[in-house]
């Protein structure tokens, strides 16, 4: 093929795909420890990942704004000696550890000794949520909204409905405010919002925004431009909220295309690559970090994974890493997923992140393997859907590498399920 012949062939030590907090932290941990040529590929014109367009505060240890945080992680990666190439997309694989790329300078085929996937996560748009109705303009996700407002200074609309009251809904609220858009309502299907008390209060009081819980978007209305949303309330009642803008927030899904195209096995719960505590995927030499593993956690967590993965990649490159392969870690309802989701006894895990599909009051998490209890942990607070639930990692040494799957369940002790009717 003509196109194939004109691909420039190159070799590096490690390729990191994605210059968000996770990928940049991985690159820094590799280049900073003398791992030869570390190249980060970033398809956007500017490195930094999602924080680039999150102008609100709350990033990193000091709670700086997204762009400030992004600038810091980019600088740290560059300072370590990693190469960060923007405007370059990894489009697919030419072999197990060989990526094909497209950029303004042409096509390349880059062979590496290890590959780190840090491709992040996106919000599900209206279509993927199967919201019925017309297909009007003015319907967007927080990601698009933030870029429109903060990166391009585009006009957005005059009156918006924000769907989903996860914390990211607050980011949407603040971008809308910046754009001078009135927020008609924040709606969520959940029986209660998940903004956190302070944010909810800010939404209601500071912005005068009504928070409608237990409301599903039944239909989008409007011809050329959206004219309103029809909401179905828990009692079956239908109401219409007029608006010219609808922002669908949250409902994140990993950007796993490159992983799947490379035959990297996914975890059925997260739909991201299945990894062990060393961030090793099922494909030898391919690692994955950040929100592609779990959609989504804060940037600091993603960056921490990047740094830990760098150690693991170095172990792999010098042959000192533990053997791979171990049982899957599964969760039982109402838990939805856990990451990492492969257990290798020799690999310590700092901590696991989980999600529940129902609110749980002070749940007790129980870890078993083949009927044997490995760990039991009391969570001294309420666990909410779409919010991080953490589990300690110290039990992984007890896993039988040759045993059956490890299971995480919620024991009824200490709380039970927080029903929709409560409060």
């Amino acid at each position: 093929m003509r196109a194939a012949m004109t691909r420039r062939q190159r070799s590096v030590d490690v390729v990191v795909v994605g210059a968000g907090p996770a990928g940049l932290a991985a690159a820094r941990g590799l280049a900073g420890h003398g791992v030869g040529v570390v190249e980060v590929l970033e398809r956007e014109a500017v490195a930094g990942g999602v924080p680039r367009h999150c102008h609100h505060r709350g990033f990193g240890r000091w709670g700086v704004t997204g762009p400030q945080y992004a600038a810091r992680v980019v600088e740290a990666a560059l300072g370590s000696g990693a190469r960060v190439r923007t405007g370059v997309t990894a489009t697919g694989w030419a072999g197990p550890l060989t990526l094909e790329t497209t950029g303004p300078h042409g096509l390349e085929r880059i062979a590496a000794r290890a590959v780190v996937l840090a491709t992040g996560a996106r919000e599900r748009p209206r279509s993927a949520r199967l919201v019925p109705g017309t297909r009007p303009a003015g319907v967007l996700t927080t990601g698009e909204l933030q870029q429109a407002v903060h990166l391009y200074g585009q006009r957005v609309g005059t009156r918006a409905v924000v769907v989903g009251a996860e914390p990211v809904g607050y980011a949407a609220l603040s971008a809308l405010r910046r754009a001078g858009v009135t927020v008609a309502a924040l709606t969520t299907e959940e029986p209660r919002h998940q903004l956190g008390l302070a944010w909810a209060a800010a939404a209601r009081l500071g912005h005068g925004v009504p928070v409608l819980t237990g409301a599903t978007v039944a239909e989008l209305l409007g011809g050329g431009r959206v004219s309103g949303v029809r909401l179905r309330h828990r009692d079956g009642r239908l109401t219409t909220v007029d608006c010219d803008t609808v922002v669908f927030t949250g409902d994140f899904v990993p950007d796993h295309e490159l992983a799947r195209r490379g035959g990297v096995a996914l975890d059925p719960g997260t739909r991201g690559p299945a990894v062990d505590g060393a961030f090793r995927t099922g494909a030898e030499g391919v690692f994955a970090v950040g929100n592609v593993l779990h959609a989504v956690e804060p940037a600091l967590w993603a960056a921490r994974e990047g740094a830990l993965a760098a150690d693991a990649v170095r172990g792999f490159l010098d042959g000192s890493g533990p053997a791979a392969g171990g049982p899957a870690i599964e969760v039982a309802a109402p838990l939805r997923w856990v990451a990492p989701n492969r257990a290798v006894p020799q690999v310590p895990v700092e901590g696991f992140v989980l999600r529940t599909s129902e609110a749980l009051t002070r749940p007790v998490l129980v870890v078993t393997q083949d009927g044997r209890r490995l760990h039991r942990q009391y969570v001294p607070r309420r666990a909410l859907p779409h919010r991080t639930l953490r589990l300690a990692g110290r039990w992984t040494g007890k896993v039988d590498a040759a045993g059956g799957p490890v299971r995480i369940t919620v024991s009824g002790l200490g709380g039970g399920i927080f029903g929709a009717a409560a409060k």
């Binding site: 956007e44 300078h105 096509l107 748009p125 279509s127 698009e144 799947r260």
Partner: protein, 476 residues
């Protein structure tokens, strides 16, 4: 080259200027094909008049994108003939114009005894429609050819000639070639009334008056309304039949190899699963008779129904992410065939009832209509058509190299190596080209149909604002 989008059609004082020889109302795939066909007579002054701000913005943008063989048409009908001819004409035209087509073939999968029993009749009908390549295959062969089918497939009718095509590029190619050959395309121009004036048609439109010697009605869902405006009576009524569809992620493409058509039985038509030339998988359509010709919305019931049928046909499909949902309206009438009528004394042709095969039949319909006009109005002198200069459309299909994969193109212009829409891998060069093309897009939706930008799984999460900026800055 004339494409107008605003302002009066005939500035004051110019009403006495020469009227158009032919006005075609409706720039869907059918009207655009007719305009292109008539443009092969360079001495004609032709207007293509469209209510919307873009060509192909009605039913022609929202179908299942199959280039049919016509194997299951009503034998002996006009539709059967024009679908068969149109398929050959369009396949050849697509190859020379760069319209993506993939000859994937179709399987009509039988899921119960009634459907299995219907296959021999369908095979025989295919023969009567002049299609000889179909054959019945057993359950084992069916499964071998579609390994991801759900349990219970009993056999299938194999129709190797069915293909998938890009409907957006098709309409755009016709309209582009027509405009480049001298047709005046008037967008945002809704025909409101038609009256006779001095032997011509006087069209009162939302942008003022337009005169034409001969009138072609290709108004799709509105063809019956326009018919009544011209004739004072109508001989058919359009009942919109809605088809809702779900588009699945490109990562689902490997689950299906053929177009999986339902077996029509007395109990109604099922839904199909088909790959698209963009690498997605379609599930649908529903069939709902409505009154409202603007009801292109989707419904919860419609989508639920599709998912439950899809789960039976290809269980793994419904676990994949959904990229888009949409609905199109078929221009169904009380008749079983196309309603193409020439009213010679009025110098008027109606092209009505082009329900569910109009994309495939478009070029044959156009040739047929040109024949009717030639006969009805010898004064227009349609005897010797010339070949128009060929068009080369930007490739939107996955089966052919796209700019982001072409080192040669990127070497000449780095904009083709600058990916803006990441999910669909659309480059800045392609977006710029679309914005300065013969018929530039009026909206982001129009840009999507020309480039695929914003049409992928993220629906703008990553690139929406960037694409909008390029659109508003016209590519700069």
């Amino acid at each position: 080259m004339t494409v107008t989008t605003k302002g009066p059609l005939s500035p004051r004082g110019q009403m006495s200027s020469r009227p158009y020889d032919v006005a075609v109302v409706g720039a869907g795939v059918v009207g655009a094909a007719i305009a292109r066909e008539l443009a092969r007579h360079p001495h004609l002054r032709i207007a293509l008049v469209e209510a919307s701000g873009d060509v192909g913005d009605g039913t022609s943008k929202a179908n299942t994108a199959i280039l049919h063989t016509g194997f299951d048409a009503v034998p002996g009908s006009l539709e059967s003939r024009l679908v068969g001819e149109g398929q050959r004409l369009l396949a050849a035209y697509a190859a020379e114009s760069g319209i993506p087509v993939e000859p994937v073939g179709a399987l009509l999968v039988a899921w119960d005894d009634a459907q299995l029993d219907a296959l021999p009749g369908l095979l025989e009908k295919a023969g009567r429609n002049g299609y000889g390549a179909a054959r019945i295959i057993d359950a084992d062969e069916t499964r071998a050819r579609e390994p991801h089918l759900g349990p219970g497939a009993l056999g299938a009718l194999d129709v190797p000639g069915e293909s998938i095509i890009c409907p957006w590029t098709t309409t755009l190619a016709y309209a582009t070639q027509a405009v480049r050959s001298g047709v005046d395309l008037h967008l945002n121009t809704r025909v409101e009334t038609v009256s006779p004036e001095g032997g011509d048609h006087l069209l009162a439109t939302s942008r003022g008056a337009l005169r034409a010697r001969f009138l072609v009605n290709a108004a799709g869902l509105n063809a019956d309304v326009l018919d009544r405006l011209v004739l004072g009576r109508g001989d058919f009524t359009v009942t919109p039949r809605r088809g809702q569809l779900i588009v699945f992620d490109e990562l689902a493409r490997d689950l299906v190899r053929h177009i999986l058509l339902p077996v029509p039985t007395a109990l109604g038509k099922g839904v199909l699963v088909a790959p698209t030339v963009y690498g997605n998988v379609l599930l649908g359509p529903t069939a709902e008779d409505l009154d409202d010709k603007a009801a292109t919305g989707t419904t919860a019931d419609g989508l639920d129904g599709l998912l439950s049928k899809g789960r039976r046909i290809l269980p793994a499909l419904v676990d994949e992410e959904v990229t888009a949902v949409y609905a199109g309206l078929r221009a169904a009438t009380e008749h079983d065939d196309y309603r193409i009528r020439c009213h010679e004394e009025r110098r008027y042709v109606t092209v009505g009832g082009i329900r569910s095969t109009g994309l495939t039949a478009s070029m044959a319909i156009a040739a047929y209509v040109a024949g009717l006009i030639a006969e009805a109005d010898p004064g227009l002198d349609l005897k010797e058509p010339v070949e128009p200069a060929p068009v080369h459309m930007p490739n939107l299909g996955e089966a052919f190299p796209r700019p982001y994969q072409r080192a040669d193109l990127i070497a000449t212009d780095p904009a083709y190596g600058t990916i803006v829409c990441h999910c669909e891998r659309v480059t800045r060069g392609e977006i710029r080209d679309a914005l300065i093309s013969t018929i530039p897009p009026a909206s982001l939706e129009g840009l999507r149909r020309r480039t695929r930008a914003r049409g992928g799984r993220c629906q703008g999460f990553y690139c929406g604002a960037a694409v909008r900026a390029l659109h508003e800055g016209r590519g700069e």
